[in-house]
Amino acid sequence: MTAEVTEQARQVTFLEAIREALREEMQRDEKVFLIGEDIGSYGGAFKVTEGLHAEFGADRVIDTPISEAAIVGAAAGAAMMGFKPVAEMQFIDFISCAFDQLTNVVSKWRYRMGFGVPIVVRGPCGGGVRGGPFHSGNPEAFFANSAGLKIVEPSTAYDAKGLLKAAIRDPDPVLFFEHKFLYRLPRLREALPDEDYVVPIGKAAVRREGTDLTIVTFGAMVYRALDAADRLAEAGISAEVVDLRTIVPLDVETVLASVRKTNRAIVLHEASRTGGYGGEISATITEKAFEWLDAPIIRVASLDTPVPYSPPLEDFYLPQVDDIVEAATKLSAY
């Protein structure tokens, strides 16, 4: 077998990277267990946990009734007993059913009681897969306003694995949003290191360097931003793309460093615009780097509507490369 073939064999998808993180963390630490709906022998709705039930048994890959509040609550209780539970929401939209557990029980626990609740709640988020109003959501902003929850959303296979490991090892609760559009996207296949690694929570990455404007984004929108940056380059506009990787805590320094360089910013996300996390990023830039700005900050986000199902509707709803290019063109001419 040639080295090239070996390299090819180790290429993994975004989804496989997540599974590798789960498997390796379960091998590393017997306190790590999984809990959720249909995650056992069935392997989960998206097959993220496939094979883990066979490898680790029903005691560590626990199937539950359809009870998101109970899944998160039980994870929290087990965490207080020294375990490191990873709870799966079958679709992240259903995290709303555990909203009270997350925003009132889990997020406030360390502050109230002096000891943490180290759980990970993970699941597939995002649209573009014709999932309709209840299987396409991006709920990060609902939780960003609840102090005590970390929120992570990776955009690469390397980050997905490294950030999920970091989340499982974190002493505090972490919401881990996996954009389902990325799960098996061929473009994201990559060879991962053989050795154990983590990607630290709270550190953004500059995915493309540029000088004229900054696009601050995360998750699947990173690729829309990169595609837009290609188009903008053809028009002579140099766009820098900042992938937040972690939504809370926000890597303010990386965002500000980019904006101080380019003096113009677009904030791009897939959730609806009003009340979206883009407003928070925009306000942070304005508070801390106002004098560096040459133009208003533009938010590019989805419509203020539910996520519609039919392809022409959903495509109209989601930010497209054209939308980003149009916004960037106007911004650079400001």
């Binding site: 899944i71 360390r110 009681m113």
Partner: protein, 335 residues
């Protein structure tokens, strides 16, 4: 005749009296303007809280999650009167001023504090029970809920999960007649809330909540069952809330004759009578107990009063293990 030893009866009676006298002391402190916020009484319900908590075995790891009217369970499990006074006075006590009243505790202390969203502790305590099961430890998780809280969604989800996973879990529904101003018959069509157990495929028992011995024995039986790996039990403890929801509530919606009826069933008087009639205690013992608790509480109040308030700037701490919350960026940094 109960199976309790003389020593156990004395221990239970101590915690019954202690609970009532702590609350009376809190009433005095409140009248003096020293309590910040409202005072929630468990008058008349001490038998349920103390009897159930006394049945647990902390040396086996058992953990209770008392709710608002379970001061007796907090004290029985090891919470101290000083801590309760510190909490009610918003001092730098067990929660360093972040939380109110009996919202404190930790698993290693065998009790954990509640949240105000009723029922949410049930899935969480199912998780504690799951922890016992996964560690193959003999511990039992005991959770409390009221007749009102039992109407919430997480109550169902948590109890169902505990049942499906066969967890060492006990849920006590304290049916005290009213949820704030709403009578139990507006919470449920059931006349016997323990019948809900049928829906989960687990045993459900109804017990006289003002009979501390009956509560103790029902809880002990449920705990033994849980320890044998036979899963959860639902216990309905029928009692009565003798005061309003909180201090401001004069309970005008409760018929006077109902209050009088339950006054005659007071759990502490009843247990005292039981001890006297069965030669377990005499009047001198009871008098000595009063004097002992009075002295303990005077000392506890003094300690709580001398505890400082938390410093405002500490509000920034402990959202996460690492890191300090940021103050508004336009304000001067904190040295």
């Amino acid at each position: 005749m109960s199976t309790l030893s003389r020593e156990q009866h004395h221990r239970i009676h101590y915690f019954l009296r202690l609970t009532r006298m702590v609350e009376e002391k809190l009433g005095n402190l409140s009248a003096q303007g020293k309590v910040i916020g409202s005072l929630y009484r468990s008058l008349g319900q001490e038998g349920t809280a103390v009897g159930s908590a006394a049945a647990l075995e902390p040396d086996k790891g058992d953990i209770a999650a008392p709710i608002l009217r379970d001061l007796g369970a907090v004290l029985t499990m090891g919470g101290t009167p000083t801590e309760v006074f510190q909490q009610y006075m918003a001092k730098n006590g067990p929660t360093r001023g972040r939380e109110l009243n009996i919202h404190f505790g930790a698993p290693e202390r065998n009790f954990i504090g509640p949240v105000s969203m009723l029922g949410e502790m049930i899935p969480l305590m199912a998780g504690i029970a799951l922890g016992f099961k996964m560690r193959k430890q003999p511990g039992v998780a005991l959770c409390y809920i009221g007749d009102g809280g039992a109407s919430t969604g997480p109550t169902h989800e948590g109890l169902n999960l505990a049942a499906v996973l066969d967890l060492p879990f006990i849920l006590i529904i304290e049916n005290n007649g009213y949820a704030y101003s709403t009578p139990t018959d507006r919470q449920s069509r059931l006349t016997r809330l323990a019948d809900r157990a049928l829906a989960y495929g687990i045993p459900g028992v109804t017990v006289d909540g003002n009979d501390v011995i009956a509560v103790y024995e029902a809880t002990r039986e449920a705990a033994d069952r849980a320890r044998r790996g036979e899963g959860p039990t639902l216990i309905e403890s029928v009692t009565f809330r003798m005061k309003g929801h909180a201090q401001h509530d004069n309970q005008a919606y409760v018929p006077r004759e109902v209050i009088e009826e339950w006054q005659a069933k007071d759990p502490i008087t009843r247990h005292e009578r039981y001890m006297l009639e069965n030669g377990i205690a005499d009047h001198e013992d009871i008098d000595r107990l009063f004097a002992r608790i009075s002295a303990e509480l005077d000392a506890a109040v003094a300690e709580a009063e001398s505890t400082p308030m938390p410093e405002g700037v500490t509000a920034l701490l402990d959202v996460f293990e690492n890191g300090v919350a940021e103050r508004a960026p336009w304000l001067a940094p904190i040295s």
